[in-house]
């Protein structure tokens, strides 16, 4: 009989204590961020999709020598690049660099393995698109656009 | 069975070749090769000790499919790997009635390798769909098959491991 009543008092007390906590939390400031209006600063090391680094000294504004190391090493082969030989220019000239971001798992193999450190991660995290092709990024076009 | 040596002693009863292995190099303590017939006796012996079944995994070798059982001990560090050759008709006795945990592991190994576990409670596919029963994905093609020697560790002096030792 004794624990019958003991249970009521301990139980009741624990219920009250629980409610006091939520009451205290009720009057505390809000923690969440209203995403479309307020945006959190993204850390510089954040891994968005890979981009070609802009390098103004180089004639072509990027350092890629289209050696296709990244294309070979990528685990989910989502890189498709092509280079061509132009006379009067030493080495290959990059003409196409398409990244299929739907298959990329952001493992960073391409960034590490690139002999001329031409690739890096962008801070882009808002990917919106209506079709799969919207996520096939053309990195070469992105680098050239940058200069405008 | 309180310590590793008493475990090795206990294995003398069922004649199994027990090979003590360097933990730092291999990650487990004892490597045991068994015949399919001794498997149930081996499992019953381990059941008496404080052992639990860690996993059951298949291995497709040139000489046929091998099933390896890994047991570990809750009390003292003794992780043992028992390799069992598969019988002629590609089957091995089940230990699902001794270690019930083996039920799912064996079903999964059957999914991937097609090893039949004799008188297993219900040997239906577990991870693969019902109609993919004979897919057996982990079986290797002829040319990539290796035999037991091909995958066993040759002594480091004979063939220096290509990895560069960290010379800090």
């Amino acid at each position: 009989m004794k624990e019958y009543f003991a249970l009521i008092f301990t139980g009741g007390k624990s219920l009250i204590v629980g409610m006091m906590i939520t009451l205290r939390e009720l009057f505390r400031p809000v923690v969440t961020v209203q995403y479309p209006r307020e945006k959190l600063p993204i850390s510089p090391n954040y891994r968005g999709h890979t981009i070609l680094i802009r390098d103004d000294e180089k004639p072509l504004k990027h350092r890629c020598i289209s050696c296709k190391m990244c294309e070979r090493e990528c685990p989910s082969n989502c890189i498709d690049l092509a280079g061509e030989k132009r006379e009067g220019v030493k080495g290959m000239v990059l003409i196409k660099y398409r990244l299929d971001f739907t298959k990329c798992s952001l493992c960073g193999t391409c960034v590490e393995i690139c002999p001329t450190d031409a690739l890096d991660f962008s801070n882009e995290y808002q990917h919106v698109g209506f079709s799969r092709e919207d996520f096939h990024y053309d990195l070469l076009a992105m680098v050239e656009e940058e200069e405008k | 069975m309180e310590s590793k040596d008493s475990v090795i002693a206990a294995f003398k009863k069922i004649p199994v070749t027990v090979e003590e292995v360097q933990f730092a190099q291999r990650g487990y303590h004892l490597e045991i090769t068994l015949e399919a017939g001794q498997l149930r006796a081996f499992a019953e012996l381990l059941r008496t000790g404080n052992f639990y079944l860690s996993f059951v995994s298949g291995l497709h070798l040139a000489t046929g499919i091998e099933v390896s059982y890994q047991f570990a001990n809750y009390g003292f560090p003794c992780r043992l790997l028992a390799n069992v050759g598969v019988d002629a008709d590609n089957s091995v006795p089940t230990i699902a009635d001794i270690f019930q945990g083996a039920n799912w592991h064996e079903r999964e190994t059957k999914d991937f390798y097609g090893v039949i576990f004799r008188d297993h409670p219900n040997l239906k596919p577990l991870l693969l769909a019902e109609d993919m029963e004979d897919l057996k994905p982990l079986l290797k093609k002829e040319k990539t098959l290796k035999d037991r020697a091909g995958i066993s560790r040759t002594e480091p002096e004979a063939q220096p491991t290509p990895a560069v030792k960290e010379d800090a």
Partner: protein, 331 residues
């Protein structure tokens, strides 16, 4: 109302009743909107998030937009359901919710019609909701809804008893079932909550269970029965259940206020006859906020614990309480 107006062909009493019913409907829908909004806002605030902010200032129009969405949704009637009962269930659940509001005395003047058996009338009407839930659960031909419906029947039947017993101890004191009579009995500031706090707690717990709220919300237990008896309802069916639940909460809280917190009595206000309804609404909404507060703090009780709590704790205590009040009255 007092002066005899030329009401043409309608007798004044009928006009008064029609006006009361219209007010009741306005209160039902107004309460559903306000409660829906309060529930989301407070739920957010309890969880340190702002709650709806998108539509209107601080999400004021959120409920209106939800209403439009629910009304706009296509009424999907699953194939093997019992067509008639499936459409009838939400109506049976929502229709009786309006009737008690005619009887509840918001203030000395603002009351639809005062029955001298007002309390029994309300309890009878509220009991219909159990039937509606059972019909909904059975007719939607879904195992989860049937489970939810079975649970709610057992729960409502079980918690009816402590509710009635605590009511009886109040009636013993007031001697009348008429709600106005009960409130007038407490007018001198001697609210029954001070005389019988235990009865108040038991009654409040029982109302929580009656309206399937907070720790006793087993009929629509999200994590076990997906949405309990409401699983197969979408669009207007779901919104009718949704509004019915809030109306029953409103009725339950107003009953608690009338019985224990002295109805409309409170410090005098200008035009006391009408404006004391503000005290009534203030107390009711205070209780409603506590219901929301309880909902967002406690986990759900298991089904057998729910019944044990009722039979082993609430019923004996309310019986003893009834006995004690009877003895005290006799002295």
């Amino acid at each position: 109302m007092s002066a005899v107006m030329n009401t043409g062909f309608l007798p004044p009493e009928l006009l008064r009743i029609i006006f009361a019913v219209v007010c009741a409907i306005v209160i039902v829908f107004g309460n559903a909107v306000v409660m829906g909004y309060l529930e989301r806002k407070l739920a957010g605030r309890f969880q340190r998030r702002p709650g709806p902010m998108e539509v209107g200032f601080h999400g004021i129009l959120q409920l209106a937009v939800d209403g439009v969405k629910l009304v706009g949704k296509q009424l999907i009637v699953p194939k093997q359901t019992d067509k008639v009962l499936y459409r009838l269930a939400p109506i049976i659940s929502f229709a009786p919710a309006i009737m008690p509001l005619v009887v509840i005395p918001f203030s000395p003047k603002l009351q639809g019609r005062d029955f001298d058996v007002g309390l029994i009338f309300i309890l009878a009407v509220v009991a219909i909701n159990v039937l509606a839930i059972l019909i909904a659960g059975w007719s939607s031909n879904n195992k989860y809804s049937l489970l939810g419906a079975m649970r709610s029947v057992a729960q409502n039947v079980a918690y009816e008893i402590p509710m009635l017993l605590t009511l009886l101890s109040v009636i013993l004191v007031t001697g009348t079932f008429s709600l106005r009579g009960i409130v007038e009995a407490q007018s001198g500031g001697a609210w029954f909550i001070f005389l019988m706090p235990v009865a108040f707690l038991i009654f409040f717990a029982a109302t929580l269970a009656e309206t399937n709220r907070a720790p006793f919300d087993l009929p629509e237990a999200e994590s076990e029965l997906t949405a309990g008896f409401m699983t197969e309802f979408s669009g207007m069916g779901f919104s009718l259940f949704f509004m019915a639940e809030y109306t029953y909460m409103f009725i339950a809280c107003s009953l608690t206020v009338i019985l224990f917190l002295g109805g409309w009595s409170g410090p005098p206000l200008p035009y006391g006859e009408y404006t004391s309804a503000l005290w009534f609404f203030a107390k009711v909404y205070a209780l409603l906020l506590t219901m929301i507060w309880i909902r967002w703090t406690f986990p759900r009780v298991r089904f057998d614990q729910l019944l044990n709590f009722c039979w082993k704790y609430l019923v004996p205590f309310s019986l003893v309480h009834l006995l004690v009040t009877a003895v005290v009255l006799k002295l």
